[in-house]
Subunit: 439 residues, 2 copies
């Protein structure tokens, strides 16, 4: 099995970035280039994006080196000049990076990252930046949507098993925590990012015992107070009745059942019936966790149906952002040697020049953004802040709790219609006079 | 930036797998369990799946160890017994694994992997196996569909930038090569898996020069014969006219332009116009590469429109399997201590017992599968073969070219209606008498 690591990540790049860089290198075409990383359009039903993956991108840029083994492979491919391979041996990024802090809400055409560096260097970064930032932004956005749909009820990320590979499994947990999840089932994410880890039991646990009652008793015995019974392995209602019996046994031992989880069937109906059964038995303290095929649309339906669900486990659809599994994100040259550049391909035009995003606020709420030129005096908050100078990170990267808090505040400041799960309104983003003069 | 590596991958697991394992451990409940990994149903428009990710799974199982740092984190979480943590320190998988070889076509409910091991061990594997096999199988399947749609024309994987994270970027290239792609733009995949790497140039290259002609000349100068001009940066038709001029200049120097790439607009119309321009100028040898928003449905439309496209670059939709970004794959206990186990949850029933898949062939074509009990004498080819015994891989893992070839043969043996891109017929999969007797 192959892992991507600090060394070989330098080759996690589309071939053409390196062959283009080689051509630039040979031609001595290495003036300062400005590239923007931005989403050309937002996916269906998205009124905003939550920027994420920015700090991994910074770390990648600062640490990018081409090792011996990697250079040897490039040489062996026969596609590169010796001069360029020598250049790669000593590669260090020396440019400037400005970006929006993670957790910031952004909209279409707004640069999340702006690179200003010698052309050869800036070119080489493209594939990784797109891969890293599109994915994490997409997941943070999706999680924010699920959490909005759940109102104030906690959502736990259960998606590791459905994530697209190992890295997605790890990073999606971080992104979904930033987007508002209360924790993750993913132990590695807990360790690496210091986020809360959570879990219940699987159906296999219930099946491994002779009867459901035996399994519930084993859970009570091993996990103690606060434990969770999974009640839908055979029949949810009978499962609830069995859970009541074992909850009573627990009470006799001074322990309290924490919750039951329902993972299949009509969750609105079942949760109401199960709630009824527990309430009648005086077990109002037992909470109900719902999971199984949930996404923001299903969670919102359950909220509308006033289903007595206390928290949600959401995985599959969230960790792959199932209704929008990729973002139309781009990394485009917008200036070369101080001169604006602009692509005109059908439906794919870009904005030239070294830009800035100005966010205008009124009475604690965001009212509009203006994309303008870096130097323009437009007012409002400048979203792009310098995070790297001469190839070194100069930005104090905040802790994950701080990023998560900022994300919540950002979303809270958006117009309500922009926050809608379905058919949100478009947030107003204008182009400045300075920018329009260049277009 | 965090990487998943050989050491910390042991924690890439849902918390409940470990807490369940702890409970089993404490209760001495560690009899031989049989788990099946299978897709409950096939995604929309899928008539079959191409098994992939199996060999990574084997490698994971054989190498699974819990290191000091990982154990320390688990201890610190306060969720585990000391006895269990001691057990993990010396963890070695000791069970048996049977699986279908990578490249095999499989259908719903058919186990791709069957684990037979002490319960505690088998439980711990769940999250990783699902993550690994679902994703790679999904991508190999998607790529096979794109390649079928392209008929015999080469398809190159351009999807690294859209893949969901680093590992997906790496593994999707391998899976898509197995599924039939001719190569990948992903340099790391080229190095790690020894698959062909391919590339052209990006729009930024064209934009970095004063004019399109200058850029084309730079490509000709730097890449020589066989090079590719990207002609849609400003206007595709004018791009083609400029390409003709530079192709003529190349001819004078004894070089030949390889191809032009069109990455936007109406690819069928544009490719016909561009073909016309080149043919009129006697440049019939210049090929046309199409890319930009392609998937199997678009490629099939282009094939129907008899667009004069020679090869396709497909990325975004393929590398995330956009129309089906996750598989409904499951890992379910089907036997414990020799006794069949069966989940009955609504819409989620499972098949009990230690099973085998029997594939029946007539005249070189597959006619039906039977899922039966391991010992049954049903005939046909047994798809599940033993790959690991007593925790050691015993299967000679084939080279990637062999896997790719096998995949092509497998797909070729499927009924034509099952291979359809849209609304395929269901391949007949029956349950044996022996299995039905257990249900």
């Amino acid at each position: 099995m192959r892992f991507v690591n600090k060394e070989n990540v330098s080759l996690l790049v589309d071939l053409y970035e390196l062959t283009m860089a080689d051509a630039y290198f040979r031609e001595g075409k290495n003036g300062i280039a400005v590239f923007d990383l931005f989403a050309r359009s937002l996916p269906k039903n998205r009124g905003f994006l939550v920027a994420c993956g920015i700090y991994d991108a910074l770390s990648y840029i600062e640490g990018l080196r081409f090792g011996k083994e990697e250079i040897a492979y490039l040489r062996e491919s026969g596609k590169f000049s010796n001069g360029f391979l020598g250049y790669l041996e000593n590669f260090r990024f020396s440019g400037e990076v400005s970006a929006v802090p993670e957790g910031t809400c952004v909209f279409e055409k707004e640069p999340l990252i702006r690179i200003s560096a010698p052309l050869v260097q800036a070119q080489i970064l493209e594939s990784f930046l797109l891969n890293c930032v599109s994915f994490q932004t997409m997941i943070a956005t999706k999680a924010a949507r699920v959490c909005m749909a759940a109102k104030e009820k906690p959502v736990c990320d259960f998606g590791l098993r459905r994530a697209q590979g190992m890295d997605a499994g790890l990073k999606a947990s971080r992104a979904s925590y930033i987007g508002g999840c209360a924790g993750t089932s993913n132990v590695l994410a807990g360790k690496e990012y210091r986020i809360p880890i959570m879990g219940t039991v699987a159906h296999s646990f219930i099946l491994a015992y002779e009867s459901e009652m035996d399994a519930f008793r084993a859970i009570a015995r091993n996990y103690g107070s606060g434990c969770v019974f999974l009640i839908d392995t055979y029949d949810t209602i009978r499962g609830a009745v069995n859970a009541v019996k074992v909850a009573r046994e627990m009470e006799k031992e001074g322990k309290k059942l924490g919750a039951v989880r329902i993972d299949s069937g009509n969750l609105a109906k079942l949760s109401r019936k199960v709630r009824g059964i527990f309430d009648e038995e005086g077990l109002k303290y037992v909470k109900i966790i719902a999971s199984g095929g949930l996404d923001e649309y299903e969670v919102e339906k359950l909220a509308w149906a006033i289903a007595p669900i206390d928290s949600f486990g959401v995985g599959t659809a969230m960790d792959v952002s199932a209704d929008a599994p990729c973002l139309d994100m781009n990394y485009k040259l917008c200036e070369y040697e101080g001169k604006g550049r602009r692509k005109m391909s059908a439906g794919k035009t870009t904005l030239p020049g070294k830009k800035q995003i100005f966010r205008l606020e009124e009475g604690g709420a965001y009212v509009r953004d203006v994309i303008g030129m870096e130097g323009e005096g437009i007012g409002g908050r400048k979203l792009l802040v310098q995070m790297m100078r001469e190839g070194r990170i100069t930005w104090k990267i905040p802790g994950i709790e701080e990023i998560r808090k900022m994300c919540k505040e950002e979303i809270g400041k958006l117009p309500v219609e922009v926050r809608k799960i379905k058919n949100p309104s478009k947030y107003p983003v204008d182009l400045s006079e300075g920018l329009l003069a260049q277009v």
